[in-house]
Symmetry: C2
Subunit: 263 residues, 2 copies
DNA sequence: CGTCCAATTGACTGCGTTCAAGAGCCGTGG
DNA sequence: CCACGGCTCTTGAACGCAGTCAATTGGACG
């Protein structure tokens, strides 16, 4: 049987042509993307033009390194397209995956004086397009546009709250609950309703889930198999689908890792 | 034997008269304390006077509840004197202690729109004095004084970095390393050099350490006994002393939980 | 068709939790 | 001043969740 003729019991991958990520943005697109970002929603279009000119662009193929921990924290980066992994490598060799972020999200330095070096690696999780400015230039933007500073504060505060939620989960909940919460986290951010299920259309390996939940690959695999056997989820190479959100929420303890539904 | 005549083998508690925390601040002290806070360092004295008038004061005895998670996030609070515990109670009954903060630190709501209810309990860890303003008033302050917004952003960004460090530790390091890192965390914040040791002059129960490291009381007790037997630490009812910082740093993996030396 | 890597599953180990009992320390009240 | 009660802390012993090691499967791609 070919891929045109799916197996009877298992529906075929719901992401049709493996949508190719945009790999480069025109200047007009840059402005549009930046303006839509939580940072700059309040900025008027003409100011936005000048402001966007302080940003440069860089494209990366999946797997490429964007920034490395320990390097001087020189840039503030915003994801224009694609997804970026934020990873801390520990001395013991275990990786800690802080988050996988998408279009409109930021990473890098906010130019806090104490923030002299990057604390984590940023890697292109898919092919992606990054808009970046220097820490100093962004600092200048903050001084010029106070409403941007407030927006930035809200973004960082939201991320702090998420981080504290993660601390709670890793401190006090068993692995299956943490995996469930992580799946709901992505469902809320990028989930789309498809065929009575919530489709998470992104690569999310067992290793990724393990690094996000502070667990081992094998453990996550067992948990995911359990979920699959219970009819709660379904997953393929580049996607995961939640068939029974209620069940997942029950397992996660009614406490999803992120509240915001939109990015 | 009286407390004037210490036991031969064990030096007596190094905190002399169990210093009584100030329990109420005069208006002048309020202004001085607020002005010394990272929020308002850049504000000129005359502006500071007006600004301080938006704050009210409340005093709490040790153990008293200051805010409860789930309540509407109406206040931004700053610790004027004493120490405050920030705790999340989990459904399973286990507590997660996010931090114990002191003079100049803040907690509560930054008036982020999404931050509608408190995410954690705040409890008076010692007798303490809290200066608070409403979330709305503080929002107005941010709009009026952009440099305060930038300072706030830096504070929240620093706290985010600390939280991510905690995530790394709890995800990837065994309990003894986490306890060591937590002791160093407090040593850097409030440690004083006394008799070749670093004295952490605050109540810090095994339960507190357990809740901060995501471990159980018994496990922390074993680890601390191990440290004591190795001559690394010494501890009493209201204090902990580090005799061998290098050893602790080695155990923690040269990665203390906080970098800043001053509050 | 063969190679490579992710995922799965099983068996065993061990760190940390859980359960339980005892020791130390302190405030209180007789 | 000492005895009592309640608390935290400590230590021991057994259990269990998750980690580790190892072998196999399965899917993607050249």
């Amino acid at each position: 049987m070919t891929s045109e003729n799916p197996a009877p019991n298992r529906r075929r991958s719901p992401i049709e042509p493996v949508s190719i990520e945009r790999h480069h943005c025109t200047p007009a697109e840059q402005v549009r993307i930046l303006a839509a970002t939580p940072f700059f929603r309040t900025v008027s279009p003409d100011h936005m033009l000048r402001l966007a000119s302080t940003f440069r662009q860089a494209d990366y193929f999946a797997g490429a390194s964007i920034q490395r921990s320990g390097e001087p924290a020189a840039r503030l980066s915003i994801v224009a397209a694609g997804m970026v992994k934020l990873v801390r490598h520990t001395a013991s060799g275990q990786d800690v995956l802080l988050d996988i972020i998408g279009s409109g999200d930021f990473f890098g330095s906010l130019a806090d004086l104490g923030d002299l070096t990057y604390q984590e690696d940023a890697t292109a999780h898919t092919d992606c397009c990054i808009l970046y400015t220097t820490a100093e230039e962004f600092r200048q933007v903050l001084r010029t546009y106070p409403e941007v500073t407030i927006a930035t504060l809200d973004l960082v505060a939201a991320r702090l709250r998420t981080a504290q939620q993660v601390i709670e989960h890793i401190s006090a909940h068993p692995v299956d609950q943490r995996v469930a919460a992580t799946l709901l986290h992505f469902a809320r951010r990028i989930g789309r309703n498809v065929d009575e299920t919530i489709l998470i259309d992104m690569p999310l390996s067992r290793q990724d889930l393990a690094d996000m939940t502070g667990a081992q690959v094998e453990t996550v695999s067992r948990v995911m198999s359990e979920f699959r056997r219970a009819g709660i989820i379904e997953s393929g190479r580049r996607w995961t689908a939640i068939r029974d959100v209620k069940a997942l929420e029950n397992i996660a303890g009614h406490l999803p890792l992120t509240t915001r539904a939109v990015t």
